[in-house]
Amino acid sequence: MMHKNWWKILGSILILYTVIGGLLIPVPKLPILHESIRNLYFHVPMWFSMIVIYTVSVVYSIKYLNSNNENHDLIAVECVNTGIVFSFVGLATGMIWANFTWGDFWPNDPKLNSAAIATLMYLAYIVLRGSIDEEQKRAKISAIYNIFAYPVMVVLIFVLPRLTDSLHPGNGGNPGFGSYDLDSNMRLVFYPAVIGWILISVWIMTIRYRIRLIENKQNQII
């Protein structure tokens, strides 16, 4: 059992480490941000996890179209369910951070608006699934929708904000955290945080998927 669960333990240890390291390891002293720069360790990994889990989702949607295996469709939908949770947590933490550094819970920033639209797009995926009763049709249509939604999400979050002015680092001529804000001390915490949260998000997704499998089996018996 231990050898199969190593990645869950790794994720847990990484996250506990980032709690200690993220609060205690010195950070660069920057105006406006002050200590709130530490939010980087907790806010940004939410979005990384969301992206990874949506990527897994789209992979399984493509797999479903190739194989017609119902389980692939179930993985795709549980990925989206988990990803939406992470995007809401990402939005909420970002709003708190924005209020104290940019002066408003929702400054008119292209990255925020794009992220909100992307989240709505994935909520639409759930609504779409709910509106189709016939299982194979539901799986097929939602898989195709998912394949179209994914590149739009990537463009919304990563491409469009970079073309205009944005408060977020790395957008609209703002240098990214990578260039000078993220010093070597911060990398020491930031990368483990990203990996840890990705592992945890995949874990939550597999739990949801396994519950869904049991539910599915029971529904078929009835």
Partner: protein, 67 residues
């Protein structure tokens, strides 16, 4: 599973021992910015979250095997 729990409890224990050791000396948990209090609270929180995930996983595994 038991190994994991004992590992984490050891981890937490070692932190509290570390903190207690400093109560008489520098009183770190009460020092200047009291950031260590936040660290302790967040550790408890995240630890609970992870243990909770592990127990859900374990119960689910039992259920899967029962089927």
């Amino acid at each position: 599973m038991k190994k994991v729990v004992s590992l984490f409890s050891l981890l937490i224990l070692s932190i509290s021992v570390f903190a207690q050791g400093n109560v008489e000396m520098a009183d770190e948990l009460r020092s200047s910015g009291k950031i260590y209090v936040v660290v302790a609270v967040m550790l408890v929180l995240f630890f609970a979250f992870i243990v909770y995930l592990f127990t859900i996983d374990k119960r689910l595994k039992k259920f899967e095997k029962g089927k």
